[in-house]
């Protein structure tokens, strides 16, 4: 099972790098925000899988929940800011 989880983690990291293309080259700031939000969702799964490697799942779940919360709040805040500025 551990090997399987390592493979999943590596695949997710690869996907994060693919999404990073949109963050760097994505035309306009909105594409970048959407891509960063997508990276956040992948990261929170990776964080929980890390918990299994270190045998401290309950600790990493807390971190992952915080990550999800801040991802959501940051996304809404950026959207609101651009809405008022634009």
């Amino acid at each position: 099972m551990n090997n399987f989880l390592i493979v999943i983690t590596l695949a997710l990291c690869l996907l994060v790098f693919v999404v990073l293309y949109r963050v760097v080259f994505g035309p306009g700031v909105f594409n970048r925000i959407a891509a960063i939000s997508a990276i956040g969702t992948k990261t929170l799964v990776i964080l929980i899988i890390f918990g299994y490697f270190y045998n401290r799942v309950e600790m990493f779940i807390d971190i992952s929940l915080v990550y999800a919360l801040l991802n959501f709040i940051g996304c809404v805040a950026a959207a609101k800011y651009l809405e008022t500025e634009g």
Binding site: D62, I63, V66, L69, L70, V76, A77, K80
Partner: protein
């Protein structure tokens, strides 16, 4: 009733989520000595929940619950709790923040006293971080002048 034309979806969702986020932040503060996190992280989440309420419900709603003056008061109280526990340890002939000396006034064994001392310090740090983060956001978003002051000036 529904106010037509307002961004009702984000408003409703954040309205439902904010109490749970705040409780989660308090959980992170209170369980700082078992799990990751602690005062600073919990304070940041608490501040973030306030920011979410601010950007979705506007100045008036937040000001009714948690005004800027209270934020300033809370940041001072947080620092007071932190430094107060530290100086209390000094008075009890220990080092600064040497929690185990607190057993002399708490009537528990030193290990338990250490845990309680850490909890107290974390509550103080959490309050301070939350209030400072919120007032920084407040100042940035209103340009340093609160709408109440403007009304009085007019």
């Amino acid at each position: 009733m529904i106010i037509r034309g307002e961004d009702i979806i984000i408003k409703t969702i954040s309205r439902v989520l904010v109490p749970f986020i705040q409780l989660y932040a308090l959980y992170v503060i209170m369980h700082g000595h078992y799990s990751p996190g602690g005062g600073f992280q919990g304070g940041v989440i608490l501040g973030a929940s306030m920011v979410l309420l601010f950007i979705t419900h506007g100045y008036a709603e937040v000001n009714r619950k948690f005004s800027e003056n209270i934020a300033v008061l809370f940041s001072s109280i947080g620092v007071l709790i932190y430094s107060g526990i530290g100086f209390l340890c000094l008075l009890l002939l220990g080092n600064y923040l040497d929690y185990s000396k607190l057993y002399k006034i708490l009537s528990v064994d030193p290990a338990h006293a250490r845990s309680l001392g850490i909890l107290g310090v974390e509550i103080g740090v959490g309050f301070a971080v939350m209030a400072v983060m919120f007032s920084i956001f407040f100042d940035i978003s209103t340009g340093g002048v609160s709408p109440d002051d403007e009304e009085e000036a007019e």
